[in-house]
Symmetry: C2
Subunit: 401 residues, 2 copies
């Protein structure tokens, strides 16, 4: 189901095609979040028009509301949310453990505490070999998720790619805790694959998740364990370190091991999607990425622009953009820029609370990343990946097409 087309000579970068139950995905690809069954502010036709071929749904949130039985009755998440193309669902582990461990989400994403606010009303009530008990942030009721539960939910969601349930360990735990947790995650992997072999949809692919924290040997060991399993693809999860160099290092260890033991299986990097991380990640051999960044930034008035010195971000909610007649981004072909919307209008809409503003920036940000990924695919196929990355790192804009 994964065909690699081109391998770069000077990096682990590669292009390929994922053939999934609901269609194909050209890789390397960015996967926008449809966390609760909608890419926020957009319709599915908007996401398709931008050129995206897959979105990510969230097992944890959809488990709590509206519930897997309801979505199953529609024929799955794609039918429910009217997205006719592939869907990847995460397992819920990240959301459960990021609220329980407190701050792991922030560490991994390099954010402050506020980003984890949604989970703050929930808490882990108990973690055993069986699974994890937690409190619902919606109704305060107790819920239990075992590896089998996560797989059953994802079966009900009829996603094209399901992820196994993992414990997402935070950065601040001991090496010993990480080692024991990673071993349990490996046992959960086998339970997930057992359940899926007996009950899962035939056309659903299961990705295992590599854990191991920031310990090189644990990461390599986890990679080898996951590679030995029956999983159809490999996701990289857990604590990826306290800063970007460490995160890139952890990914490097993992994909180096993957090159050695299972070069043909597709690889997904969980929750990472800053522009520089995409450029580095593709070079390290990642095939797909998901991240809240482009859509979340849009809701806070931040546009992605070709400005590496400012982390590719410009905060249009800032007062200096009041009345600005500049375009969001010069020469950008996205629907917002093509219609002539200015930075000043976006600034105004952000302050007036008009959701048209976040919608316009969501279109812009997702357009930027889709064009960037398309350029990277072209560059790999044409054998000019390194030069292309260097140009982007120096502030080049993605192609206009």
């Amino acid at each position: 189901m994964f065909e690699i087309r081109t391998r770069a000579a000077d990096s682990r970068a590669r292009t390929g095609t994922l053939r999934l139950a609901h269609g194909t995905v050209e890789t390397p690809a960015f996967v926008p979040l449809a966390t609760r069954g909608a890419v926020k502010t957009l319709e599915p036709r908007d996401v398709e028009a931008l050129g995206y071929e897959m979105v990510l749904g969230n097992t944890f949130h959809l488990f709590l509301s509206p519930g897997p039985e309801l979505i199953d009755a529609y024929g799955g998440l794609g039918a429910f949310m009217r997205w006719p193309r592939p869907i990847i669902t995460d397992s819920g582990g990240f959301q459960i453990f990021s609220m329980g461990h407190g701050g792991v989400a922030d560490e991994i994403k390099g954010r402050g505490r506020s980003g984890a606010a949604r989970g703050s009303a929930s808490a882990i009530l108990g973690l055993t070999e069986d699974g994890v008990r937690f409190r619902s942030y919606i109704d305060g009721g107790e819920r239990f998720m075992a590896p089998e539960t996560s797989m059953a939910i994802q079966a009900a969601l009829h996603s094209d790619i399901a992820l196994v349930l993992d414990e997402c360990t935070p950065f601040h735990v001991t090496r010993d805790y990480t080692a024991r947790s990673t071993e349990r995650t490996h046992r959960w992997l086998e339970r997930c694959l057992d359940w899926h072999a007996r009950h899962g949809p035939r056309d659903q692919i299961v990705y295992g998740i590599v854990q191991g924290g920031v310990e090189a040997d644990l990461r390599v060991e986890s990679t080898e364990t996951v590679a030995r399993s029956r999983c159809g693809g490999i996701a990289i999860g857990g604590s990826l370190g306290q800063d970007k160099p460490q995160m890139h290092q952890v990914v490097d260890w993992t994909t180096a091991a993957l090159e050695r033991v299972t070069p043909e299986r597709p690889r997904h990097l969980l929750g990472i999607g800053d522009i520089d991380d995409l450029l580095v990640g593709v070079g390290l051999g990642i095939d797909t990425f998901d991240c809240a960044m482009p859509t979340r930034l849009a809701r806070h008035g931040v546009a992605i622009v070709p400005d590496p010195a400012r982390r590719w971000r410009v905060d249009l909610a800032k007062s200096r953009f009041r009345g600005s007649q500049e375009p969001i981004m010069e020469g950008c072909p996205c629907p917002a820029c093509a219609a002539g919307f200015t930075r000043g209008y976006i600034h105004y809409a952000a302050h007036a609370g008009e959701t048209t503003g976040p919608r316009l920036l969501t279109l812009h940000n997702l357009s930027y990343i889709q064009r960037l990924m398309s350029d990277l695919r072209d560059a790999i196929d044409r054998g000019v990946y390194a030069e292309t990355v260097a140009a982007f790192m120096a502030g080049a804009a993605p192609s206009v097409r």
Copy 2:
């Protein structure tokens, strides 16, 4: 600038074309609200794709933020909000007086108190012959609006149609108060027209506003006074009564008088747009309508459907729609229904706070009303207006096209 094409034989209904600075508007037409420079949840291209030719901007809100100078620097509201077609701006009178008099908005619209919540932080500080002082709901600061102020703001907004500043009297005041207020509104009308003649954009048309409360003689007198003025069109405003029959009666008095004294000028009915009111209003000779109803209902999960017994409304946020696999409206060609979105998905999105839901319903509701108005125009031109209205009143759906 207004050409009447067809007059119905058995009612005052008529079709025509408004030729305005930024394009033409086929009438009778519904005008969606872009109160603060955006049709909520939509982009201008969405509004155009639905077939709308004009939107309404709000002088009061845009005066307070972002301010007329800022919008003027862009070349006007259309350039600022990227709407390339005609715009009508109301004068601000309704918003100022609905908060000051308390409850007039609710009386006129037939709503409960909550609908006027936005204005509740503001208050009228003083009303004199000069104009009205009030407190800004944004910063608490004092503001003053004279008839000339309103015209200057609307000149800065470069709207195609400007409305004169009027005092919008509530239903509960005395006949004597209404009479004196209406006389002042007539003096303000002359001041607005004087200012516009000297300073207003040449290609902007000014509509006078008929007041007079629910008193037949005052309405007729106001109609005659406004008709004698230099205004290019006539709007009907103020208290239109305590229920729909009284509102229809007030409109009937007014358009009967207009037929007699100025049949050729275009007529706008302010703030009215329920399905039955559109059907009745067109028959009474109204050319354009504006109303928050279709867009506001959408944000509360309410879809417009051909169900006269339930006021053409179905509240999809209600619990009985959880998991419903019914379409929003059978056979509807709007973007939401055409994509197969169900009542259950809209119910879910409303409860999950996903703005994709309100967006889908906004598209549906505005599509419904645009197709209804298009059908009414066809019916008038084909001489079958009465039968068409009877069919709609009996639950017929607008045409699919």
